[in-house]
Every structure is written in C-alpha cells, then in structure tokens.
C-alpha cells in the first residue's frame, strides 16, 4: 500500500466544525432550493476535484457510502487516493451502486437514470449527485417551484447535464423515487432536491 504526501494533506483544518458548517450549508441549500449557501468550509483536494466538492465529500462520505466518480475524476489517481484516505469510502464503477456521485464535467454526464433511484418502499436508497459547475448565478437561468420555495426561485447554474430540463421532468415524475442534485461552485453550494420543479428556462 502506498500513498503519497498529497493524499494525506488537504483535509479539514477543524474537522468537527468544518464538517458541521459544510453540512449546514448543504442542508440549507436542499431545504431552500434556489438559494446559494456560502458557508462551506475549505478543503484542498487534488484537481480536478474542487475545494467545494471536496468539502462535501469530507462532510458526508465514509465507509458506508460508495462513491462514483465521473471519468475525469476517476482517471486521477491522486483524487482517488485523497478520497480513500480522508473518507474511507469505497469507489465503485457501477453508478447504480453509488450513494454519492462526484461529477467534474456535468456537460458530459451519463443520464441521471443510471444512478440509484431508491425503491417505492425505500425512496431514500437513492443517489446524491454532486456536480461541479462553473457558476451558480451567471449561466442560463431556470425558475424553480416546490417545497422550500415560497413562490418561485431562480438559479443560473452552468454547465448542466445534457437535456437537463427533460431529464429533470423524468426525475420528478419518479417521485418519491429519484436523485437529488447538489451543485457546487466558487460561489458556494445550491441544490435541487427531487421535489423541485423547473417551471421556466431562459
């Protein structure tokens, strides 16, 4: 077993409080779709995993949560070693086995229905996808409705997976089954839980 110095560096400075702050940011983001939460703690993972995605991984992943990586992340030995060292999460190649998926290039992501959708009995047995996007506020805008949103909310993430609006309609139709999206960028974290409806696109 060999691990280079890089994989042991770049964790949280204050694991207990950093994880708590990051969790609260992700929780608020899921509870209020369309909002951008800025209080993520800093992690310093190897590229192309971003600091924000790294923080989410450190906060939510461990031995009990198999992780799927998109090809650019999967190709990077340092990323795998970093995740293994800091989270202990097994990395799986079959997307339907993953509890969490980390995606560095959302535009080329395989279709959302490849991931675990949960069952009608246990809809919680579904995947959470963490998408690294370039922006949450300056891409093409989408209007959102659903739980967590008083009337309508607006978000402008980019880049998003191909045919995203159609894929999201299908995801919504599977409710209570379906996947949840966590979007991370320099600006912070936003989320689209499976309950959110996209009502308009720019």
């Amino acid at each position: 077993m060999s691990f280079h110095g890089k994989s042991i560096e770049g964790g949280f400075r204050q694991p207990v409080f950093d994880a708590q702050a990051t969790f609260r940011a992700v929780m608020e983001a899921l509870a209020r779709p369309g909002t951008i939460q800025k209080s993520l703690a800093a992690a310093r993972p190897p590229a192309p995993l971003t600091p924000e995605a790294g923080a989410v991984a450190l906060t939510l992943c461990d031995h009990d949560t198999p992780i799927w990586l998109d090809p650019p992340l999967q190709a990077e030995e340092a990323v795998r070693a970093w995740l293994a060292f800091h989270t202990g999460a097994p990395i799986v190649t079959n997307p339907s086995d993953a509890h969490f998926a980390f995606v560095s290039y959302p535009a080329t992501l395989i279709s959302l229905d490849n991931f675990a959708q949960g069952t009608q009995d246990y809809p919680d047995r579904s995947a959470t996808l963490v998408l690294q996007v370039e922006t949450l506020a300056n891409g093409p805008a989408i209007a959102l409705e659903g739980p967590g949103i008083r009337t309508t909310a607006r978000l402008a993430p980019s880049p998003m997976p191909r045919h995203f609006a159609e894929q999201w309609v299908q995801n919504r139709a599977r409710f209570p089954r379906g996947i949840d999206l966590v979007l991370v960028a320099r600006e912070g974290v936003a989320a689209l839980p499976r309950t959110t409806r996209i009502t308009a696109e720019e």
Partner: protein
C-alpha cells in the same frame, strides 16, 4: 484499576461517523418531505422516549454559532427541557435562550411556539411513535407498503368512524397530516391546535424518533394539510377564555388547578410568549398588575 482509563466522551457526545450518518438521513428527509427515513439511532445518555431522536438530530445539526431553545409542553422550565438544555450546554458549550425569536434551533416536545417562526430557524421535534398508521396496523412491513402505494384509506376510515360514532373526529393530538400532497405524517404528539403552524412555515422542521429509528422533515414553505372531510373540515380547539396572566387569545392554554374546590385558571402553555406579552404591558385577570 485506574479511573482515567475509564469512560470518556466525544465533543457534542456523538462521534463524527454517527453525525455523518444522521446528517445523510436528514438530507434524505428534506428531499422526500414527510417520508420516514430509517437511521441507525444510537443509544443516548438519556432514556429512549425522553427525546433521544430530537437530541440526535440537534447534536448533528448544531454548531458554535447556534443559539438553542428547548421546550417541553411549550415551557422552557419543565424538567426534561431543563435537562436537555443542560446536556447541550455541557457537551457543546453553545448559547441557549428562552426567547423564540433569538433561537436558531428550537428543540420541542409536544408544542410549536406561538410566535411565528422565521426563515433560518430550525424546529426539531422529539417524536415517540413516528408512524401515523401504527395504531391502525402494528406491523412495520404492512405500513411501509401502505406508504409506498399511497394507500391511506384505512386512516380515512378510522377518522370517519369517529365522526359516525361521536359526531366529530376524536383525535385531539398527534393529528395526522398530509405533506405536499403525498405522505401522511405524524406531527408528533402536539395538540392539533398547532397543526396549522406547520403549513408553509418559513422554518425548517426536523423530526427525530430515536427508539423507532426514524428521521423525517418538512422543508420551509411546504404544504402540510390536516386530514379531514368536506362535510367535516379540520378545526382546532378554541378556548372560551383568554390567558389569565397575559390576556392572550388565539393561544394554547394550560389548565391550572388552584385549590381542591374546583378553582382553576387558564394560562399560556408557551411560557416565553406569555412573558413577552406581559413585558409588553398586556395583562390578564389574574396577573400581578390586575391584583394590585
């Protein structure tokens, strides 16, 4: 035998792995409003049935910047509320308050505060029996199927039998609700008086049932409808007198026995609400000012 080697506990009591597991369950709960997420509830240093679910949720959510309020029966000074608040002061050294408006996290047993909650606040409910169908069907394997198939006929039959027998629905607390038109959910044993406060609340509502190992959630601005019938719409309990101390109406009242000759008075169950009103100059017929 040395005593130093014996028994030490982590910061905030729960270990980080447990917090992660609970946090993941909370996120699923938010994504599927009203659905009971199974979680590997831990033994807590207080008995099952005394708020272990709520405590685990609070311990997983709380951070150094939070201000915690704990109520039981609406009051901050009931013994179990005092005990849980002291627990968090001891293990997490966080700020506490009795003022609803100042709290970022409110852990509650049996009440929702009278003062409307705000965006950014989190209400954590202690839940004894999370399954609204449990008293109609004791088997988990069966109730899980009923939720999966959205088969809630049994619940409506039960409520309707009440109406047939008593002329109205005879459920006064833990009154079932439907969340966002999908899951029937137990609001925990709050009096049904509080049910309307759950609907489209700006606050995030989290529910923890420790012994039964379930977590569920209602995101802010989510539809929460109490089950009813067109000819028998849901209605809340009305008190025919105001609070004897603050004169408040439209609040939930406790009946206090004054003597053994049937003397009684009604006072706010929400002690903070009552105090704030009195500080603002409101009086009731038995308050200090009225006595003078």
């Amino acid at each position: 035998m040395s005593t130093e080697t014996i028994a030490r506990y982590n910061f905030a009591y729960l270990d980080e792995q447990t917090k992660r597991m609970i946090r993941r369950a909370i996120l699923k709960g938010i994504a599927i409003p009203g659905y009971q997420v199974p979680f590997a509830s831990r033994e807590m240093p207080m008995p099952y049935g005394w708020g272990t679910g709520g405590v685990q949720v609070t311990a997983s959510v709380i951070g150094p910047g939070d201000v915690l309020k704990v109520i039981d029966q609406g009051a901050d000074d009931t013994t179990n509320a005092v005990s849980i608040r002291a627990f968090f002061q001891k293990v997490a050294e966080i700020a506490v308050t009795t003022h609803t408006g100042e709290a970022t996290i409110i852990q509650t047993r049996h009440r929702i505060p009278e003062k409307p909650l705000q965006e950014g606040q989190i209400l954590v409910y202690q839940v004894p029996i999370p399954e609204p169908l449990r008293f109609l069907e004791p088997r988990e394997t069966e109730t899980r199927k009923m939720h999966a198939l959205e088969e809630y006929g049994l619940m409506h039959v039960k409520l309707y039998e009440d109406i047939a027998k008593h002329g109205h629905i005879a459920t006064t607390y833990a009154y079932p609700v439907k969340v966002e038109g999908r899951y029937v959910m137990d609001p925990s044993p709050t009096p049904k008086f509080d049910n309307p406060k759950m609907h489209m609340s700006p606050a995030l509502q989290l529910f923890g049932a420790g012994r039964e190992k379930r977590i569920y959630a209602i995101p802010p601005y989510t539809r929460v409808e109490s089950l009813d019938f067109e000819d028998h719409p849901f209605e809340i309990q009305k008190f025919d007198q105001p609070c004897a101390l603050c004169g408040g109406t439209d609040v939930y009242l406790d009946e206090v026995i004054l003597d053994d000759r049937g003397g009684r008075m009604f006072v706010c169950s929400d002690t903070d609400h009552c105090e704030e009103r009195r500080e603002a100059g409101h009086t009731g017929h038995m308050s200090e000012e009225a006595a003078q």
